[in-house]
């Protein structure tokens, strides 16, 4: 879809091209790995210094961040609008629930990989169809997908119907507990364990996505987004590029679903409502379309804002129902205000300001 995603526009122009690139030679990997290591360190510090509830919130932020990262690739880089990424998270989550169900479940990395792979396959099938569509037609199809998948789940008894499947986390391996204790000096409770898994998955995902975005594949995606015909003439197979973007993006959603299943401890159709898909998209745009930092900021917003607002409402003496309505009201208002005031999203706007400052100096 030739979305004129203004929000993403400066994403690339504004990267500090020359400098960093030269310092690291031509390979982006060392830089991404360094950032990843720093990120993991920061995550460890944060998880160890905050309480259990904050840990659980951070786990949610991790899975939202993974899905948002994938979506930002699809929408920001390839210009395809998906209103149905929640459905792919559902696929990942259900796969996880099923794989963890048996008596001898796969080890966790295996489960995560399986969830990613299964979702990837589903994503490929949907992507092949979506690649033929444009603009509002993709939106329509993915919207229908978002509501169809929970329906399908209801249809199969094996999937637990309305009440869903419980997710049994495998016992935390003893060596992990020991290692965690050795490093941090405190016990690793299940909540924190899931948060670590989520953030590790996020960091790996982001490194891989960042690699893709910087390299040949990302360039091809952006070319398709900007001008299909010109891209095609330059030798890009449009369908293949689109499907690839879709597949990568849905693989992320699958992984996100897997982490979500572990964090939420259940997968039920009502957990993958249309709202999930739509808020994911809004998070990506609010954070700043086409940038992984933006996706992360967006998912933070999604995780923390409603909770903060409800708290404020209750403190202000509103009844529970009113306070509960306040959170969506503020979230909706935030979406509107950000789009009106900072159409390039938070990262985009900050970057523009910074550039202007630098330009002026």
């Amino acid at each position: 879809m030739p979305t004129t995603t203004e929000t993403a526009e400066k994403a690339h122009a504004a990267e500090p091209r020359g400098g960093l690139r030269r310092r690291w030679g031509n390979s982006v990997l060392p830089r991404h790995l360094t950032l990843a290591a720093l990120g993991l360190l920061a995550v460890t510090v944060v998880l160890e210094t905050t309480g259990s509830f904050a840990n659980s919130q951070l786990a949610s932020m991790a899975y939202l961040g993974i899905a948002a990262g994938g979506l930002t690739v699809l929408t920001g880089l390839n210009g395809q609008l998906s209103l149905g990424h929640g459905a792919f998270m559902a696929v990942g989550a259900y796969t996880t629930a099923l794989f963890l169900d048996g008596d001898n479940p796969l080890p966790l990395p295996g489960v995560l990989a399986a969830a990613t792979l299964v979702t990837l396959l589903v994503g490929a099938a949907v992507g092949v169809a979506a690649a033929r569509l444009h603009g509002p037609y993709i939106a329509g199809a993915t919207l229908a997908l978002a509501v169809a998948v929970p329906g399908v789940v209801l249809h199969f008894d094996r999937l637990g119907g309305e009440q869903g499947l419980g997710v049994r986390m495998p016992e935390t391996p003893a060596w992990v507990l020991d290692a965690a204790y050795f490093v941090t000096g405190s016990e690793l409770n299940p909540t924190k364990y899931v948060a670590y898994i989520g953030w590790a998955a996020l960091v790996v995902t982001y490194v891989l996505l960042a690699n893709l975005m910087r390299g040949r594949v990302g360039r091809t995606w952006r070319a398709v987004r900007d001008d299909e015909v010109a891209a095609e003439i330059a030798g890009v197979h449009l369908g293949r590029a689109r499907v690839l973007a879709f597949v990568v993006s849905t693989a992320c959603a699958g992984l996100a679903g897997a982490v979500m299943a572990m964090a939420v401890r259940i997968t039920a159709p009502s957990g993958f409502s249309l709202t999930l898909s739509l808020t994911l998209l809004s998070a990506v745009v609010l954070g700043g379309l086409g940038s992984l930092t933006g996706a992360l900021i967006g998912s933070a917003l999604l995780t923390f804002l409603p909770h903060l607002v409800t708290g404020v409402g209750v403190d202000a003496g509103l009844t529970d129902v009113r306070a509960a309505e306040l959170a969506p009201a503020v979230y909706g208002l935030t979406m509107i205000v950000v789009i009106l005031v900072a159409p390039a999203g938070i990262t985009g706007t900050v970057r523009n300001l910074w550039r202007r400052r630098r330009g002026a100096a």
């Binding site: 037609y137 129902v321 789009i339």
Partner: protein, 292 residues
């Protein structure tokens, strides 16, 4: 046989309701190139306006008129205040904006009107008609619904095909700058487009609510199916919207009655994909493919 007839007639009225909503989407798409996800909560608000008026003791038709006028004003205000800055800009920004509106209006309605169920009256009766001894699963209000939708569709076709205002609206939607240098008051046209669309949206809200229950989320499922109907028909075509809506209503009703209601969303997806794979621009798109 009886079941088939009942299911078909039910599907027809349901389809008319989707069609009405799809018409509103189509109108706004034609006049601003925006898919207005906030259409449903806007219609929900105007339905509540009608309900408040009816509950205050006024007639159904007073409430009906108030809702339509309310829709007209609401559409105009929303366009002028909120949507104006994103028109002609990145498509996704408009999408997010209307989603934001969706959430906001929803929450505000919850705060203002509360979230309990309320029943909404319907003129012309909600009992099935009886012809001689056999009863037909079609209510007076159902007939009204179908007629209203067809009339609105006709008016929209006339508006776009034969009137100058329609032409101006479309020009403004497609290319603001060119329209402007040709003397089209672009801002006014966009406002008009939103106002009319919100009016049609309110109508759909009233038709869905009539003889049924309302609460702040009562239009939510219509968002999906109305949008699917509009896309099926080709988004650009009022006739397509109506046919898409009817088709969807009939098929979903059949699926729900014969296969199971949990399969309804899946059926919608299957129908949509089947149509789009054959005609990526919907049933009624003009296929004027020229890429270079």
């Amino acid at each position: 046989m009886q079941q088939l007839l009942t299911t078909a007639l039910g599907g027809l009225t349901l389809g008319a309701v989707y069609a009405a909503f799809a018409l509103a989407l189509c109108l706004i798409w034609r006049s601003t190139r925006i898919v207005n996800f906030a259409q449903a909560p806007m219609a929900m608000i105007t339905t509540y306006i009608a309900l408040v008026i009816i509950d205050a003791g006024h007639s159904y038709w007073t409430g009906f008129a108030a809702a339509l006028i309310g829709g007209l004003l609401l559409g105009a205000v929303v366009e002028r205040v909120v949507v104006r800055p994103v028109e002609g800009k990145a498509e996704i920004n408009a999408v997010i904006l209307t989603l934001g509106l969706f959430i906001l209006i929803h929450a505000v309605a919850g705060i203002v009107f509360g979230s309990r169920y309320r029943s909404f009256p319907a003129p012309f009766g909600v009992r099935g008609l009886t012809v001689g001894d056999t009863s037909i699963a079609l209510t007076g209000f159902g007939v009204f619904t179908v007629v209203a939708v067809v009339v609105v569709m006709g008016l929209l076709v006339l508006l776009f095909r034969y009137t100058e205002v329609g032409l101006r609206m479309r020009a403004a939607a497609f290319n603001q700058e060119v329209a402007r240098i040709l003397g089209v008051k672009v801002g006014r046209m966009l406002t008009l487009g939103w106002a009319l669309a919100a009016l049609v949206g309110s109508l759909s809200g009233l038709l869905i609510a009539g003889g049924s229950l309302v609460h702040p989320a009562y239009m939510d499922s219509v968002v999906v199916y109305g949008f699917v109907a509009a896309v099926l028909g080709g988004l650009d075509s009022p006739v397509g919207s109506v046919i898409g809506g009817m088709l969807l209503g009939l098929s979903l009703s059949a699926v729900s009655g014969y296969l199971g209601s949990e399969l309804v969303p899946l059926a919608a997806l299957v129908i949509l994909m089947a149509v789009l794979l054959l005609r990526p621009g919907g049933l009624f798109s003009h296929h004027a493919e020229r890429r270079v």
